[in-house]
């Protein structure tokens, strides 16, 4: 690693209306380093990256590349300058194949008259093979969110770039894929490519990055060499205070209850899962672990009648459920937080208030079904405050929020109905460390007060930190259960992938 600065940001400011997203920030990226960027939700990380990629123009300030001041007016120009960007929000073309998506930038600048689909697929296959088992000929709209995220990464790997920006690429990935990504990142850095890596996962930053810069409220705070510091230092710089307990205390033996909130028996779906049976006890937080595509989301969606034709029985608080539609599930007090925030979690072009109230409009309306907007705003205000939502006006569209704050809106929407049971699919995806521990605390409080909580997460430390018990799903069925001291990453990974190894040895 050398000390030459390849990219320098100098006094860049940017505001959206009344919101000052960036306030005179500085930033330096050296050749061949992996430079982490940390900061709370809405600190301005993505905004800065969008400026570097030419998607947004700064209100003031300069960008220097190799010591030269550059004006980057579009992503096309950024590409020419050797800047590659994996966006926080997945942005792929759903109608075309994975291969074409991966090589879109290359196709764009290609001088070839004809498109060689065979070559595209072959090459895409090569790149994908390091990452995951995805058929390059499939249209992207068929892929799960995690696989789409992998395609995004593959896409960035094809770019011939000097600066690679990764904005929370692992938010939807499991440990396994994330590790693959880190290996690739290190290889690239060794080749002299500079990487900006944005993540809310401290462990990732400390295991894989060289330096870390911290932003807070649109301002640059500090840069450290990773090996010089402890995670606490970063967290402190980020939120301006210490967070001592990252995870709330678990259920004690005394709190253990025999009361069963949810009982699922022999739940099956045509192709996606079968023979699922489990129980959720009062006061406990239950986790679901598994590899990408193992069927965790499908099982949970099946329970609340969101997708698929499901057979089997479900009891909620002792009552057998006969749900026909997800609305019945909501009425029964069972709600699902989607893993695909942009696709089916929020209404991007509608106001924050309207998003929060979407699940049960009856709560904010009068007897004639007339919406009381004060009540609606009050509800959004209250839940927003509870989740530490950083926003402008409650009437602003959700699209104006940062990624993590959009996630908080999605969570607020679930909490608005005072549910009896919540399924949370990747609940803290993209949420900063402070808010994350806040959400964990809220989940724990809810569990204590008798609300059933089931968490699906690809982030094993989160599962282990938050849950009292974890069920591991493999290829559509439950392959095991871990609890207490047995809840280790190794045990979970083993249960999640044992079949793979068996297959290989067989």
């Amino acid at each position: 690693m050398t000390d030459d600065v390849i990219l320098k940001i100098s006094h860049v400011s940017k505001s959206f209306g009344a919101v000052q997203a960036l306030n005179g920030v500085d930033f330096e990226l050296r050749k061949g380093e992996i430079h982490a960027l940390a900061g709370e939700n809405g600190a301005g990380k993505s905004t800065l990256m969008n400026i570097i990629d030419g998607i947004l123009q700064p209100d003031s300030g300069e960008i220097l590349l190799d010591g030269q001041v550059v004006r980057i007016s579009s992503p096309a120009e950024a590409q020419k300058l050797g800047i590659g960007f994996v966006h926080q929000e997945i942005s792929l073309c759903p109608d075309v194949s994975v291969a074409e998506n991966i090589f879109m930038a290359a196709t764009n600048v290609s001088r070839a008259f004809l498109t060689d689909y065979q070559a595209l697929q072959r090459d895409a296959g090569v790149i994908l093979s390091q990452l995951a088992d995805i058929d390059p000929s499939w249209p992207v709209r068929e892929l799960s969110i995690s696989n789409q995220q992998l395609v995004e990464i593959a896409k960035a790997l094809t770019l011939d770039c000097r600066v690679l920006i990764l904005d929370e690429p692992t938010a939807a990935l499991t440990e396994k894929e994330a590790q693959v990504l880190f290996q690739i990142m290190r290889r690239l850095a060794d080749r002299g490519i500079s990487i900006i890596y944005i993540s809310h996962r401290m462990a990732e930053i400390f295991d894989n990055c060289d330096r870390v810069s911290v932003f807070r409220d649109g301002r640059y705070i500090v840069t450290h060499k990773v090996r010089d510091i402890q995670p606490g230092t970063i967290v402190n710089a980020m939120v301006g205070r210490m967070i001592d307990n990252l995870y709330p205390a678990k259920m004690t033996a005394a709190q253990t209850s025999d009361e069963i909130i949810l009982k699922v028996s022999n739940l099956s779906e045509a192709v996606r899962f079968n023979g699922i049976s489990f129980e959720l006890k009062k006061g406990e937080i239950l986790g679901f672990a598994g590899l990408i595509g193992s069927g965790r989301s499908e099982i949970v969606k099946g329970i609340c009648q969101l997708e698929g034709t499901v057979t089997g029985d479900t009891w909620l608080n002792g009552q057998k459920l006969a749900l026909k539609h997800y609305s019945d599930s909501i009425a029964a007090g069972m709600v699902y937080l989607s893993e695909d925030r942009k696709g089916d979690g929020v209404f991007l072009d509608m106001s924050i208030s309207a998003n929060v109230s979407a699940l049960k409009l009856g709560q904010v309306s009068g007897p004639l079904g007339i919406i009381n907007t004060d009540k609606e705003d009050g509800q959004a205000e209250k839940l927003g405050h509870m989740l530490n939502l950083k926003h402008g006006q409650l009437s602003d569209p959700v699209s104006s929020l940062s990624g993590g704050n959009q996630q908080k809106v999605a969570i607020a929407k679930m909490l608005s109905v005072d549910p009896k049971l919540i399924f949370l699919d990747e609940p803290t995806r993209g949420v900063d460390i402070g808010a994350k521990s806040e959400i964990h605390r809220i989940l724990r409080d809810l569990a204590r007060s008798g609300v059933g909580i089931i968490v699906i997460s690809s982030e094993l430390p989160e599962l282990i930190g938050v849950c009292d018990r974890v069920l591991v799903v493999r290829e559509g069925s439950i392959s095991g259960e871990v609890a207490g001291d047995a809840m280790t990453e190794e045990n979970i990974m083993h249960l999640a992938s044992v079949l793979e190894t068996q297959k290989k040895t067989a």
Binding site: G17, D344, V346, S353, D374, S395, S400
Partner: protein, 328 residues
Amino acid sequence: MEVAAPEPARGGGNPLKNMFRMRETGLIAIIVLLFAVMSFASPYFLTWVNMRAMAMAFAVEGVVVVGMTILLISGGIDLSVGSVTALAMVIAGWLFLQGVDPWVASGISIASCTAIGAFMGFFVTRIGLHHFIVSLAVMVIARGICLLATGGRPLGLYTLPPEFKFIGQGSIGPLPLVIIIFLVVVLAFDFMLRRTTMFRKVFYTGSNEKAAAYSGIKTKKVIFLTTTLCSALCGFAGIIYMARFGSAQPTFGIGMELNVIAAAVIGGASLSGGSGTIFGAILGTILLSVVSSSLALLDVSVYWQDIIRGSILLSAVSIDHYLHKIRA
């Protein structure tokens, strides 16, 4: 495709209302400007009689615009509005000529139009076809039924009882009943669309159908109902037209769909669903209609009228868009 600019409502008070209000100020300004110019250009423009005549010209179509706007918000579109309106006239007129009481005939006619809407809703939500193609087919079929029932000839309904004709030709005080009906329909739906939970679901569905489904909303039902409502309002409009003209014209409303959709879009409805207001759409209707009436009042040469109308439409939309952008 459309990158909707954010609409921060900085003022106090009810922010949703503010947002809506802001969306329409540009259009209102343009219409006020048009009125100002016209009242200089013609001494007859600002007379009560002219205002009434201009209002009569768009009032009934305004009812159809209401239905279309709601359908657009839910993410649909309906090309059959003109044919279905004509069919409403033809069904009611034909029944009346067969001796059915005109009120009963009107009821049957509106029910039939509602059934047509349900038919389209079925194809869209159950079979999974696109609104565009289903309503295009229904547009052709409904026109065919009009022709079949009348042999292509308008039905003369001069013998309609005066109480019935009163709907279309009567006045209460100085206000024609048609305009009163129009105002009631517009105000009622505007209020409901802004404030009721029922119609809020229409916005959710149009904004992101999947997210709406993931909020427990029966999105197919919503789309089915907005499709049906639009046709039902066409039926209602057809009956008013019949009472007004005292005839049922099988060729009525050809090309109406584009006019109606344009009005809604000028008023801020998005063709990809999720946004729009009745108030805006009606302003769009007024703009289009007043431009036509004004050109007639000024006796502009027919050969120039289309050119001027198109240019005003394009400028108005551009100005509105620009005002909207700088305010955001």
